[in-house]
């Protein structure tokens, strides 16, 4: 029964996806849509394989920016959340700002950052990714460190535990799932920010800038092929974050929602 359900869960979206591509292909051929209007999937796929090495190169540039930014943003975010949870007054000053910055598309700041570094530098893009990731991680991990069950705190106080012991044995373990939630949100956001920040000048070497340059040259199918590469890169980041979360929660045995 569960196996059949599982199979259905896989097969139905697959059939839908294939059907959608066939419909797309058919529509382009039937209505004789011009290539600059909409390229057919077959053309996009052949462009993808023809340009595979160039797409891979561009993906590694964008991917590296996203990865470096993701790691740096996470490290700084976690560090700052520890400081905020220790000094509540700072938290009440910074948390609203962090939430506000989280809600607006701050990646446009990359235009300002670009002015600060040389034209070929990848640093502005990486800083931009770090900033986006930083706020997501900061808000979530700070929540995990501070929103601890009252009963847990009372129990620790009844054992005369010090603040450091409460941090190590209650707050940090409590924040771990929050960190992985933050990573699951940050990973795709890092990739998107990495692409978008390429639209604001600098070297034309990443997936984002290749998409625009191909569109500028009316190479529509090639642009789509790079879009496909971008999708795959985003997916890869997301899947890795999901796998990491599963590994971590299995280690902590915190799969309590699935197996009650």
């Amino acid at each position: 029964m569960t196996f059949v359900n599982r199979l259905r869960n896989l097969v139905v979206p697959f059939i839908f996806g294939v059907g959608f591509l066939l419909f797309w292909e058919g529509a382009v051929r039937f209505f004789h849509l011009k290539p600059y209007f909409l390229a057919p999937p077959s053309k996009i796929l052949s462009q993808f394989f023809d340009n595979a090495s160039r797409i891979w190169e561009a993906a590694s540039v964008s991917g590296m920016n996203a990865l470096v930014g993701l790691i740096a943003g996470t490290v700084f975010g976690v560090a700052m959340s520890f400081i905020l949870s220790r000094f509540r007054i700072l938290s009440s000053l910074i948390t609203p700002l962090a939430i506000a910055l989280n809600a607006i598309p701050i990646f446009v700041l990359v235009a300002v950052l670009n002015n600060m570094y040389s034209i070929t530098s990848e640093i502005p893009r990486r800083i931009m990714v770090s900033l986006v990731v930083y706020f997501i991680v900061l808000v979530n991990v700070a929540k995990g460190l501070t929103q601890v069950k009252t009963t847990h705190l009372e129990i620790m106080h009844s054992y005369a535990a010090s603040d450091i012991e409460i941090l190590r044995k209650v707050r940090v373990p409590n924040a771990v799932p929050y960190l992985f939630t933050a990573l699951k949100i940050s990973a795709p956001a890092a990739v998107i920010t990495s692409f978008v920040s390429e639209y604001f000048g600098g070297s034309q070497n990443g997936l984002g800038s290749r998409i625009t340059s191909n569109i500028a040259n009316s190479k529509n199918a090639a642009a789509w092929a790079y879009v496909l590469g971008a999708c795959l890169l985003g997916l890869a980041f997301y899947l890795v974050s999901v796998v990491l979360e599963n590994v971590a929660s299995r280690g902590a045995g915190a799969t309590n929602n699935t197996n009650k």
Partner: protein, 270 residues
Amino acid sequence: MSAVHVAGVSKIFNQGTPKQVDALVDVNLTVEPGEFVSLIGPSGCGKSTLLRLIANLLEPTTGAVTVNGKTSAQSRLDQDYGMAFQQAGLFDWRSVAKNIELPLELKGWDKEKRAARAQEMLELVKLPEFADLMPWQLSGGMQQRIAIARALAAHPPLLLMDEPFGALDEMTREYMQGELLRICAETKTTVVFVTHSIPEAVYLSNRVVVMTPRPGRITEVVNVNLGANRSEDTRAADNFFSGITAVREALRGTHADHANAGAVRGVEDR
């Protein structure tokens, strides 16, 4: 030396502000070693506050609390008591055994000694094969037994419990009451037990301390000794029912203070 001595204690929250609450006024209570004392009363009568004052999780506004002849602050530092709450409060990221070991970790015990004690406690609460499970794999009653095992892991002379069976169903609850009596008799632990269930207080206690709200204070102490060998038959015995009646009347103030009768109308007669 008494296990708990509360002398002239008052607790006022938000003193001097419009939100001032007189949680406890002039409370005096002495609990002897080995005694089982319940605190009962409607919401807002200060029973949980009194328990937290004994535990030194709160400081009294006036008066003094002594536990085992020491100040409550010192006895907390010495882990002279264990505590259990309505929520079992087990740590989801620790196995059952590691949960029980937590107070011992904080005392700086080494690993083998901790593991041996955890196993001993698991046998005490009759869950010896559950050491490596995670808390969420246990039922509510089992979780609460682990919480009791954790509270008693360091062999404290005093156990403080805040409605520990309040979230359990009636059947589990009665079973747990029997288990608690057995465990306390085996370990010779003194218990201060907060509840809002009259039968629970009567079944478990040597003395039931009846409290009323606004301001929170002790109105009466009912002696209910049902003997050392309480069993399921005790729940059908005459002295059980007379104990329940005595506590109920004390709560309603029929032979104490009629003015308070209105304030205690919300009491559950479970």
